[in-house]
């Protein structure tokens, strides 16, 4: 049985920015343990000699020419904004710092 505690789930929820309820934390730690047990099987066959596949097709070097194309109008860009001011997206006070 995979060992995933309620605290682990709380940490993951913090990383994923979801304010999970206590109920959900309990529930999810149980569910995740079961799911992780099921999916951990992948380790049985993932040998050193097997290269990982990140893209299903072997494409490479797909580029666009450096040319300016029309942008959205500011009205379109801001059309979904929950709040706006001075043609900018208005967001609540930011506590963290830029990285």
């Amino acid at each position: 049985m995979s060992n995933i505690s309620r605290d682990d789930v709380a940490n993951l929820a913090k990383l994923a920015r979801i304010d999970l309820s206590d109920d959900e934390l309990n529930h999810l730690s149980n569910e995740l343990a079961v799911i992780l047990d099921a999916v951990a099987r992948v380790q049985e066959v993932a040998g050193e000699d097997v290269p990982p596949t990140s893209h299903p097709l072997p494409l490479k070097n797909v580029f666009r020419v450096d040319e300016v194309r029309p942008s959205l109008t500011p009205d379109e860009a801001l059309s979904g904004a929950p709040a706006q001011e001075e043609q900018r997206f208005k967001v609540p006070q930011i506590l963290g710092e830029e990285q």
Partner: protein, 500 residues
């Protein structure tokens, strides 16, 4: 009582790590066709891709790849035959997708170096800065912090976001650990950024304007006791926005660390913010607990595998290195080492070169940029290039001096006028009514007046004591309010007194 720098270096060895972010000067953004011009109205240069709207997908700008390879080659890096983009996952409102498309374990350029030379007590000395990697990523949007008193993030009531900058191609150049610089660490750091900037400018891949943020430096500094092997805890000073600040930030952090270490206090691993006004840093985010960025290969982009042909084509088109160029200029201009170093230090070499290209003689061009203009820049605590005088203005002023239309003294007034924003040289000369008095009869009247006022001096000159003429020339200059050409006055005066 603050430690002196000498105390610090007597006991500790500084170790540096420098991360430089450069905004590439492509026409369009890294992953979409939005314009990259600086200073546009907010959110006018955005599209579904750079706003991270649901469903949008990135496509790599070919030019950005070429520019990055050129940077790698100029920094003596190996170009990876295969590299990938990765997602760096973290939440921040200025980052529309809440992940940054960057490169992680497979950067496009690795293992290079850059040699920089600084003046030391023992004369010029070269330091090799090893480059760990050069990789591509995208810039974030910009936030305006509103309310509160300071306009800073802390204490703001809310923020306003403009995503014009989001998605502009960035190249990050990361050094390996830099050791062995000893007391010259601040100068080496500065010289590295300066040399890097010259290289980037020479490549034409960026406008490298530190004050506009198109070149930003993060300086990692740590100290260890001289002779110790183990590295000390580092701090990372972010976004240091001028060459001078790079030097100040490194020196300041060295002193701050040493003070802590001397008190047996711990240096905290954290980011620090540099303040131009005080030269000090203040703490930012603690990095004690490593952020888990959950990097993984970007599934929306395919690998970059530059062909040898492309790499060689870019290599063949690289301009000469700044050090080679400097040597050539020095020979062409016949400038002594010390003067050359002074120009580099004052960051006016490019300006002098442009001025010379516009027809000024190298000596005059140099003495204006390094003299009067550098003095004013220094007073205002800005770079000479940021003043409103340009190489064209200086070339024009020099030409007027050569033609005898301006004296040095008058030229200084013109320079001052241009810097004050009164207009271009011709306009200032016109407006201020500056002109050299070259009319012989007007000069002769002044000369006769001077002789009449000081007959004994005139007699000495007539008697062959030519140096005495200085007093008379001075009187004439005073009479003409400095608008006469002193050489011309001397010529006429001596002739008049039978010594011509």
């Amino acid at each position: 009582m603050a430690l002196s720098y000498d105390d610090v270096i007597a006991k500790y060895e500084p170790v540096l790590g420098l991360e430089v972010h450069v905004e590439l000067g492509t026409e369009s953004k890294m992953f979409c066709g939005c314009n990259t011009v600086f200073g546009a109205a907010p959110n006018t240069q955005t599209c579904p891709v750079c706003l991270g709207l649901p469903g949008s997908l990135p496509v790599v700008n070919a030019k950005a790849i070429e520019y990055t390879i050129a940077i790698g080659l100029a920094l003596n890096c190996s170009i990876a035959p295969y590299s990938r983009f990765a997602r760096k996952n973290y939440f921040y409102p200025d980052m529309p997708k809440n992940f940054q498309t960057s490169q992680y374990d497979e950067p496009i350029c690795v293992n290079g170096y850059l040699d920089v030379t600084i003046e030391t007590d023992e004369g010029p000395k070269e330091f090799r800065i090893e480059i760990e990697r050069v990789h591509m990523e995208e810039d974030t949007g910009k936030s305006l912090h509103m309310g509160g008193a300071t306009g800073r993030i802390h204490g703001a009531d809310y923020s306003l976001l403009d995503y014009n900058r989001a998605g502009i191609p960035l190249v990050e150049i990361v050094t390996k650990v830099v050791t062995g610089t000893g007391k010259y660490a601040p100068e080496v750091a500065r010289a590295y950024v300066s040399e890097l900037r010259d290289i980037l400018r020479g490549l034409g891949v960026s406008d490298v304007k530190m004050e506009q943020g198109s070149l930003r430096c993060d300086a990692n500094v740590s100290l260890r006791l001289i002779g110790a092997d183990k590295l000390g805890t580092r701090s990372e000073t972010k976004n240091v926005n001028s060459l001078r600040s790079v030097e100040r930030a490194v020196r300041g952090e060295m002193i701050r660390h040493a003070e802590l270490l001397n008190k047996s206090e711990r240096v905290i691993q954290e980011t620090r913010h540099f303040h131009e006004d005080t030269g000090l840093t203040t703490p930012g985010r603690s990095k004690e607990q490593a952020e888990d960025y959950r990097y993984f290969p970007e599934p929306d982009l395919v690998p970059v595998a530059p062909t040898n042909e492309l790499i060689e084509k870019i290599r063949a088109s690289l301009p000469e290195k700044p050090s080679v160029r400097r040597k050539k200029l020095q020979e062409a201009w016949q400038v002594p080492d010390k003067e050359m170093a002074a120009m580099i230090n004052a960051d006016v070499l490019d300006l002098v070169e442009e001025t010379v290209k516009l027809g000024a003689d190298p000596t005059r061009a140099r003495s204006w940029w390094l003299g009067e203009i550098a003095r004013i820049a220094n007073e205002k605590a800005v770079a000479a290039s940021e003043l409103s005088i340009n190489s064209k203005d200086v070339a024009e002023i020099v030409a007027l001096i050569v033609q005898g239309e301006l004296t040095d003294k008058l030229a200084r007034q013109v320079v001052e006028g241009v810097i004050n924003g009164e207009g271009r040289p011709a306009e200032i000369i016109e407006k201020r009514g500056i002109k050299v008095v070259s009319d012989d009869s007007a000069l002769m009247a002044a000369i006769e007046k001077a002789i009449a006022a000081q007959p004994d001096v005139a007699e000495k000159v007539r008697g062959g004591h030519v140096p005495a003429a200085g007093a008379l020339i001075g009187a004439v200059m005073k009479e003409t309010k400095g608008q006469a050409d002193a050489a011309k006055v001397r010529e006429l005066l001596l002739k008049h007194l039978g010594q011509g």
